[in-house]
Amino acid sequence: MTAVVTIAIIALLTGLALSYAKRSLPAKASSLIEQVNKLLPQTQCAQCGYPGCRPYAAAIVDQDIGINLCPPGGDETMRRLAALLGRETSPLAEQAIEPMIAVIDESRCIGCTHCRNACPVDAIVGAHQLMHTIIEAECTGCELCIAPCPVDCISLRSVA
């Protein structure tokens, strides 16, 4: 009888201590954000509605935002995120997209620098009133350069 009571009391105390610790001690959120960020494809395309992959990672961790908002990552990324965070898998909000890279039609480029300023990874070289071009190796295919172009000379092509 004494033994049962002792064990029960120990269990109760430990349980209380643990639940207190869980509530009051801050979880290591920043490292979790980094882990989530590592799983994201780093296209920095903002198609999730956040300005880049890290902000989206922060939103997933801090604000409980859905993990199905990344079209370049596709199903694969969503499943990996679900596994990491212990969440349910859910169908993608938008259709997954193939890896692409942007191409500038250099004969039509007027050198306005708008695309260069929009590129999140500095993959466009060019100067005012001079032809611009894309560094293929660095382009993530985020599509952010397409909308600002006043002469519509940028298009996407599949990597394969």
């Binding site: 780093q42 992959c53 999140p120 660095e138």
Partner: protein, 505 residues
Amino acid sequence: MSAPTYDLGKLHGGLRLQAHKSAATAEPIKKLPIPAQLVLPITQHVGDPSQPIVGIGERVLKGQLIAESDGTLGAPVHASSSGKVVAIEPWPVSRRLGDNAPCIVIECDGEDCAIEALENPPGFATLSPDELLTRILQGGIVGLGGAVFPTAQKLMQAVTCELEYLILNGVECEPYISCDDVLMREYAQEVLGGAQILMHALQLEKCYIAVESDKPEAIRQLGEQMAELEDDRIVLKLVPTIYPSGGEDQLVQLVTNLEVPTGGLPTDVGCLVQNVGTATAIYAWIVNNQPLLSRVTTVTGDGVAQPMNVEARIGTTVADIVEFAGGYTDRAQQLIIGGPMTGKSVTTDRVPLVKATNCILVLSEAPSIGDEMPCIRCGDCAAVCPIQLLPQQLFWYACADNEEKMRLHGLVDCIECGCCDLVCPSHIPLTADFRTAKARIHEQAIEKARAERARARFEARNERLENEQRTRDDELAQQKEAAKQSGPAAIAEILKRKQEQQDED
């Protein structure tokens, strides 16, 4: 096929396979006549592709350089007979990836005119090791055991390491293949000469020539030549006939009892391994001024009328070679370039003989695999794996697409020898699965590196933009501050000037 063997002291696992070699080794090497057409792939090595330096319609001479390597890892290609370049176009070749590769097609004139070579090449002993390495680089010599790694670059990497042994690999453990066996029988002197050149180039004092114990004739010939040469630095080592004892790392372990570390090279344990064919090619180039223009290859299998070993020019099509060996028999079904374990089956005999081709195997039926059944986790595969991996566990993770676990279980160390396939009672094509998984892991690593770079660039850009913004804000604040301070005085000054003007008027 025999039962798995456990009787080895130093090499784990492996299999004793039926050799099927005697059919092709009965007669000496036969020289193939000059074919009507030569098809020379411009890249016959591992590394950066070579660039053709001849044009269509140009007449080339035997031994002339027709494609040179411009990368850091590469080997040049020479014309193997004289004739006219008729095309530079994609042609079917036997490679792991892709079916067509750019080739230089030469129509031979049959005269076999050789390009003027150096008169009396200097003896190798008078050349410094550096000069010798540069010269080997020009000879277009690659590892002839099948891996076709450019020999010069392998040696250049090796001289930067602390070496102790040169090991010549005469262990031809794969069934059917016998080209190195006959090469050692007939070119024993050249093999030993090549060993001496390599030892001089690397400044080594010890050389092992490893030969399997089932090649008595080759051993006898080598022994006789060694007795004549009286070079006590060279030692002949017999290794047991077990597949895959001829793998580079496996041979190092057998001969020296040193284990090559994972992800490492034999040079990490002080060894450099070269195929006996490569040694012969080096001898021919350094001493006789003959670049790598031909090689010995085995034409065998029950689909060939007269199995034999031929010395054929690089670029001869497989069709020409098989025709020389009496043509196909009625039972010929499958054409494999390489051995039955690691070779690649091809669909056309238009593919040319390349520097890597050690065997042309024509079989009457595909090695029967049987229907694939679920893994029963018997562990037979782990018992035969020469690098002590756990294929059943790797297979488990391959099914689950768990790349991380596969990496932890040493998938990259798999040499794709095929032993696990052979013993698997459920007939699971393990090696093929591992090969795909390796490719996928490689792809993912590239993707990961790319994402990492994009992230770094994104962060660097954000930081730069923030800095710019901050500098602008600071400047603006400073200007405002300055204006505020000098403001009243400046206004008074302006008013004063206006007043003066009005006074003058």
